[in-house]
């Protein structure tokens, strides 16, 4: 984005107190993991307190941020190299928005979790992971370069793994955690390669240097290299934000506790991919932006159709999250960074609220199958009302948050490619359709059971606060408040008016979606002419089976890898081990032969000589009688003999 780098360099302020923002949750994690068991019920409130502290920190630094200052704090990292490398935190408008999203939603969800996880035996462990996740997420967001960002990136992946498989007694939860970890790891490898490539180019890994790197590479005609780096970085975002083709982990991640799904797999961590692309958008060339656009759009539409056919309420929400993340990626692909970040913000509020509502339903009804739910509106008035607010916001009802952020993206699309506007309108209709299919079938109609009651206040109150956010955050960006969001991001693409045509079309898409949800989703009427019904049924079955992506991966990726692994293991055991063992046996035999030779020949020779000497000595001993006269006799005889011999 040339216009971003063209803006004048704004003042940086050194602010060492930034450390407190991720430091407080980290301290809470350390405390909880060590003495959490003794704290018992208090551990939940400890986590809430630390997160509230982070929120206060984020609010305190708002002043300089809104004055377009950048707050930094740095420490030397590799001082031996030249130039010396440093790591540190840096908060500008973009990271402050993410910080504000994370630190407002996280304490609310932590409060909700106190109610939701009330009877869990690993209560304090849950909050320890929760606090660690928040610390990691805040580190990721505040990082001033790829190094610290990557550390936070992997840490949130770890926390996601720990929290998805929090109920690891369930085999499905353990498998889901593993799947999430391995799938995102594919993307992380891409990100790591991109980072290494950047480091190899020597331009430094600080985000502030990205503009120089871009100018340098483009100036020397290395556009392909820049595209490669940005595609690798985007691969990391694809894994983390669960875009096609690495989207398979997110629906399975719903095995974790529902507040975790709300925080990690809807509001914050999965949005980190969008944040990463927004943060490094200076690296993206037109070619890689086209890739971002293509993947984002296909995820938006494909996930939307899958969400239409699912029957598990959390899975519907998971596919809805995929679809909305795809929408954000689409906006990024169009270069509309502020629209993407705006949708990220509003989405975080209404999707977190939707998940908390779903959690409330699951908490009360102990099921998440749509077929076993219904008529909860009377039993759970608060949950029902808040869920409705969030659904309307996501569907884009005029004046609610979702309307404004979707409107910004639609405007960007309309400005770029008209066909894209129609595709996104179709996506918007699908959004309204699947969420109201869920809402009506869950809260309206007849209830199969009658013992349900509203969740406790500790769960409902955070939902109510989020409800206010889900409804009103979008107003920040409305023309009447002067687009503070765009100014914070220093984005010159300001649309200071509502485009009536686009607003009207989006409302029409909402109405179409509602009508479809009511007739097809709730009344179960087929709108297709009789001749097309088999095709419709086939499409529905495909969507209900998630287009068999998991099965395809299993068939064409996992099973071949597994069988190759088994074959290689057999090869290892038979051939390699056989060769090694054979070599060992030959060596053993050779050794034995050598030992025998040593014992028989060498030792025999030495011992033989010794024995001969001893035998000779024993024989000679006999001569030494010790009787002196015998010696004399011999001497005399010798004299006689010698003298006789001497005469000759």
């Amino acid at each position: 984005m040339d216009h971003v780098s063209a803006l004048p360099q704004l003042a940086q302020l050194v602010e060492p107190r930034l450390v407190w923002i991720p430091g407080l949750p980290l301290a809470a994690f350390a405390l909880l993991i060590l003495v959490g068991r003794r704290l018992g019920r208090a551990s939940g409130w400890l986590a809430v307190g630390s997160l509230a502290g982070s929120l206060i920190g984020v609010v305190l630094i708002a002043g300089p941020i809104w004055a377009h200052r950048t707050l930094v704090v740095q420490w030397p990292w590799l001082s031996a190299s030249n130039p010396a490398w440093s790591v540190g935190f840096s908060v500008d408008g973009l990271s402050w928005i993410m910080l504000a999203v994370v630190t407002t939603i996280a304490p609310l969800i932590a409060v909700y979790s106190i109610g939701y996880m009330r009877d869990d035996p690993r209560f304090s462990r849950y909050f320890a992971y929760f606090a660690l996740f928040c610390a990691s997420m805040l580190t990721l967001v505040m990082a001033d370069g790829f190094v610290l960002l990557y550390a936070g990136w992997e840490l949130v992946g770890l926390c996601s793994y720990l929290l998805i498989s929090f109920w690891f007694e369930k085999p499905a939860a353990a498998a889901a955690g593993r799947k999430a970890f391995l799938t995102t790891r594919l993307g992380d490898t891409g990100l790591l390669l991109g980072i290494l490539l950047l480091a190899w180019l020597g331009g430094g890994l600080h985000f502030s240097a990205l503009g120089d790197i871009r100018a340098h590479l483009l100036g020397h005609g290395y556009e392909g290299l820049l595209t490669l780096i940005s595609v690798l970085v985007f691969l990391g975002a694809v894994g983390k934000s669960a875009q096609i083709p690495l989207h398979v982990w997110l629906p399975d991640a719903m095995e974790g506790p529902t507040p975790v799904s709300a925080l990690i797999h809807a509001a914050t961590m999965v949005a980190a991919g969008v944040y990463l692309v927004a943060r490094t958008i200076e690296l993206f060339t037109p070619a890689s932006l086209a890739l971002v656009l293509g993947i984002g759009l296909s995820t938006h539409l494909v996930a939307g159709t899958v969400a239409l056919a699912q029957t598990d309420i959390k899975r519907i929400l998971a596919y809805s999250t995929l679809s909305q993340l795809g929408l954000m990626m689409t906006a990024l692909g169009l270069g509309a960074r502020s629209a993407a970040m705006f949708h990220l913000t509003t989405h975080a509020y209404f999707k977190a609220l939707l998940f908390l509502g779903a959690g409330s339903v699951i908490h009360a009804a102990h099921t998440q199958e749509l077929a076993q739910l219904g008529g909860l509106r009377r039993a759970m008035p608060w949950t029902s009302a808040l869920f409705l607010v969030a659904s309307l916001s996501m569907s884009g009802l005029f004046l609610l948050s979702g309307f404004w952020s979707k409107d910004a993206i639609l405007l960007a699309a309309a400005g770029a490619k008209p066909w894209l506007l129609w595709a996104l309108l179709a996506g918007a209709a699908m959004t309204a359709s699947y969420i109201f299919r869920l809402y009506w079938r869950c809260f309206h109609g007849v209830s199969p059971a009658h013992s349900h009651q509203e969740s406790p206040a500790v769960m409902v109150l955070p939902m109510a606060v989020l409800g206010v956010g889900a409804a009103c955050v979008g107003l920040l960006e409305s023309p009447w408040l002067g687009h503070p969001f765009l100014r914070l991001l220093r984005d010159p693409h300001v649309h200071d008016h509502i485009d009536p045509a686009v607003a009207l079309l989006s409302t029409a898409a909402l109405a179409l979606g509602l009508w479809l949800a009511w007739t097809v989703g709730v009344r179960r009427r087929s709108l297709l002419p009789a001749g097309l019904r088999p095709i419709g049924r086939l499409l529905h079955r495909w969507a209900a089976h998630k287009y068999y992506v998991d099965e395809c991966y299993d068939r064409f990726l996992i099973q071949p890898v597994l069988s190759a692994a088994r074959g290689l293991s057999g090869f290892d055991q038979r051939i390699i081990d056989g060769a090694v063992n054979g070599a060992g046996r030959v060596g053993d035999l050779l050794g034995r032969a050598k030992a025998a030779f040593d014992r028989i020949v060498v030792d025999g020779l030495v011992n033989g000589i010794a024995a001969a000497a001893r035998g000779g000595g024993a024989l000679l001993r006999l001569l030494q009688t010790g009787i002196i006269q015998q010696y004399l006799l011999v001497a005399a005889a010798a004299v006689v003999v010698l003298s006789i011999m001497g005469r000759r």
Binding site: L623, Q624, G626, I628, Q629, L633, A636
Partner: protein, 99 residues
């Protein structure tokens, strides 16, 4: 003066000495027999010194006599030690030199 009778005498003395050394059991007797042998040698020295007119031979004899005295001292000392440690002075009962 004729050499022969004196040579016969010295040979007789030598043979008596050798005989005594080979047959005596008593260690003191062995020493006595040894004196006979030494004196036979000394007699021969004196005899041939006179015959060839050399004074060196007589000096040699004096050495032999001194040597014999020393040898008798050492020998008697050995015998004394032997009688104390082995309670015998019979040569065939002592085999300290046995290998």
């Amino acid at each position: 003066m004729s050499l022969q009778p004196v040579l016969v005498l010295s040979h007789a003395l030598f043979c008596l000495g050798v005989y005594g050394m080979l047959t005596r059991r008593n260690a003191v007797g062995l020493l006595l027999a040894l004196e006979l042998i030494l004196n036979a040698a000394g007699l021969n020295f004196v005899l041939f010194g006179r015959a060839f007119g050399s004074a060196q031979a007589q000096a040699f004899t004096l050495f032999i006599i001194a040597l014999a005295a020393c040898e008798a001292v050492v020998g008697l000392g050995v015998i004394l030690g032997l009688s104390r440690s082995a309670h015998t002075i019979f040569a065939d009962q002592v085999n300290l030199l046995k290998g």
